[in-house]
């Protein structure tokens, strides 16, 4: 390094730990609250150390749900969130990779217009077209269905552009070679291109899974049945009731359960996550 560090590096360590504390404290508190007695929390006398209700609260949250209302158990919500996130991530990746393949490896009329039609959707996030989209999904009888939850979010110009960019870097010789081997467009895609795209697909999957899991506005609009709620929607409904009736340990356990899968993905697949994030956003 440029100069001797010493005291400066202690300051750096200190600032980083303060940063980590700021980032982690709300989550720590949520976990602590989920292990404590509701009465203590409601009185504002919550301890800052874990309480003894861990198993009880999590059992109730996952299998029973809040006792005050007729809401579904959070287990169902976790399942819904998982299905939705998987459908969005896998759906986006599969429809994007084949359309990118067509655009890069074929020459056909309207190729560029089609590309631009897909590209422009970058500028139309679901928030700016919610009610018309809702009406279409209702007309198609897709309310309260997994298809309705995921289909409108599946089109992704980002993924198409990413695969297109990657395909452009694949050497032409590979295509020539597999042609000489007698491979057609299907074999070339399946045997050559797909294996080469594995890392890109995985990185994209990590990002898309998190985005899918965390969807809020769209599921809020199109799910009316309690058993189709995702966990991120369910948690909001739990604190709808007046303060006194809110079962905070269950709410906080739900928050912890809602964070767990995406956070796990980020921590365990950190390299892919960082790569996916930088590539999709740049």
């Amino acid at each position: 390094m440029v100069e001797r560090e010493g005291i400066r590096s202690y300051v750096a360590h200190l600032i980083l730990w303060i940063g980590i504390a700021i980032v982690a404290f709300p989550v720590y508190l949520a976990f602590i609250a989920s292990t404590q007695d509701n009465a203590a929390i409601a009185n504002g006398q919550m301890s800052l150390l874990p309480g003894g209700h861990f198993l009880e609260t999590y059992y109730q949250t996952i299998f029973v749900g809040t006792s005050g209302s007729t809401r579904e158990p959070v287990g169902t919500m976790l399942f819904n969130s998982f299905v939705m996130a998987m459908l969005i991530a896998l759906g986006k990746i599969s429809i994007s990779i084949i359309s990118a393949y067509a655009i890069v490896y074929f020459r056909f009329p309207f190729r560029m217009p089609i590309f631009y039609i897909i590209f422009i959707t970058l500028m139309l996030p679901v928030e700016v077209r919610i009610y018309p989209t809702y009406k279409i999904v209702a007309d198609l009888h897709l309310l309260d269905s997994y298809a309705g939850l995921s289909l409108p979010l599946i089109a992704s110009a980002t993924a198409t552009l990413l695969f297109r960019q990657f395909f452009m870097t694949v050497p032409d010789e590979l295509l020539e070679a597999s042609r000489i081997d007698g491979a057609g467009p299907f074999r070339f895609f399946w045997d050559t291109l797909l294996p080469l795209s594995r890392t890109n697909m995985a990185a994209l999957f990590v990002i898309l899974f998190i985005l899918g899991w965390n969807q809020y506005l769209w599921p809020l609009l199109i799910t009316t049945r309690d058993d189709m709620q995702t966990i991120v929607i369910g948690i909001r409904k739990m604190i709808t009731t007046t303060d006194a009736l809110t079962e905070w340990p269950v709410v906080m356990a739900t928050a912890v359960l809602a964070m767990l899968p995406p956070v796990f993905v980020v921590v365990v697949m950190q390299k892919l996550f960082v790569r996916g994030l930088v590539e999709t956003e740049k």
Partner: protein, 307 residues
């Protein structure tokens, strides 16, 4: 999902492979699924919104007439709407500035050759995965006037903390939760930006006698400006759209609309039903804002590619 949809950098090349497959129908079959989704769920609703914004229905929904820009004129003459625009921009700036400055400080620290640097990085990036509404719930719990731990602290310090009644405090609540959630994203990009600055440049500045603080402002900060600008745009888009979940779990736009942003207003006005044309006009104005922000971002990316 809004705003996160961005494109990779080398968009400019419209080239294609030298050698391609020949097939009359196959390419159309391959683009068909994506094209179908895009046409049904993007263009059709966007077109509907555009069309409806020029239409006016009578009170019973019996007849509809084409009224050109009347819906827009109506909308823009409402002081309410202007207040929401202004509020949205204030929120965006507050969220972007607070989150960016804290993230930059942390990234500069984490960029030093410290022991445990990889661990610090892991411990700082995971909140990216927390859903905005969940972030809202976490902060509401800490700052709930009757049972929140931080609320007790604030009261002990003599602050009259009641975001349920005080609009400014409710706004602070939203900004806090939204900025907290965005720290890890900004941190990650700042760290990548810092690691892209050649060490030789820093050493040259050090040899010239520049102290670390001065080195930061005269060397690091200017070299980081493309990253800062990129993040500023991303954060504004984030504050526009992703705060919806935070607002909905924390304040529902209240008290007295003090936290109602443009996106939240579209949602609330649409939910109340009634004015279809006005709500469509709101959507179209939002679309124009998104297109503007995206265009700014594109110009920036273009420059960076040439750089």
């Amino acid at each position: 999902m809004a705003g996160r949809e961005r494109r990779p950098a080398d968009f400019a090349d419209n080239m294609q492979k030298q050698s391609v497959f020949q097939s009359r129908l196959l390419p159309y079959a391959l683009v068909a699924p994506q094209l179908a989704v895009v046409l049904i769920f993007f263009y059709w609703p966007a077109g509907q919104a555009l069309l409806q914004s020029f239409l006016l229905q009578d009170a019973f929904g019996l007849s509809t007439s084409f009224v050109w820009f009347e819906n827009y004129r109506d909308l823009l003459s409402q002081p309410d709407y202007f207040a929401a625009i202004l509020r949205t921009f204030v929120f965006s700036l507050a969220i972007a500035v607070s989150s960016l400055s804290l993230a930059l400080l942390l990234a500069v620290m984490a960029d030093k050759p410290l022991r445990g640097a990889a661990l610090y990085r892991t411990l700082l990036i995971w909140p990216y995965a927390v859903a905005p509404p969940v972030a809202g719930v976490l902060w509401v719990f800490m700052l709930n006037p009757s049972l929140g731990i931080l609320a007790h602290g604030l009261r002990a310090m003599g602050v009259d903390w009641n975001p349920l009644l005080d609009g400014d405090q409710a706004a602070m609540l939203i900004v806090l939760a939204a900025a907290w959630k965005q720290i890890s994203y900004n941190f990650l990009f700042f760290l990548a930006g810092l690691q892209g600055i050649p060490k030789s440049v820093m050493e040259a500045a050090a040899i010239d006698g520049a102290r670390p603080m001065r080195r930061f402002w005269t060397v690091t900060f200017p070299l980081l400006s493309p990253t800062i600008f990129f993040l500023l745009v991303v954060n504004i888009v984030y504050a526009f759209f992703d705060t919806f979940g935070i607002i909905d779990t924390m304040t529902r736009g209240g008290p007295a609309k003090a936290t109602e942003t443009l996106v939240y207003k579209v949602y609330v006005d649409g939910l109340l039903g009634g004015n279809l044309g006005g709500s469509a006009a709101q959507s179209v104005i939002l679309m124009i804002i998104v297109i503007g922000l995206t265009a700014i971002q594109f110009r920036f990316v273009e420059r960076k590619v040439n750089y």
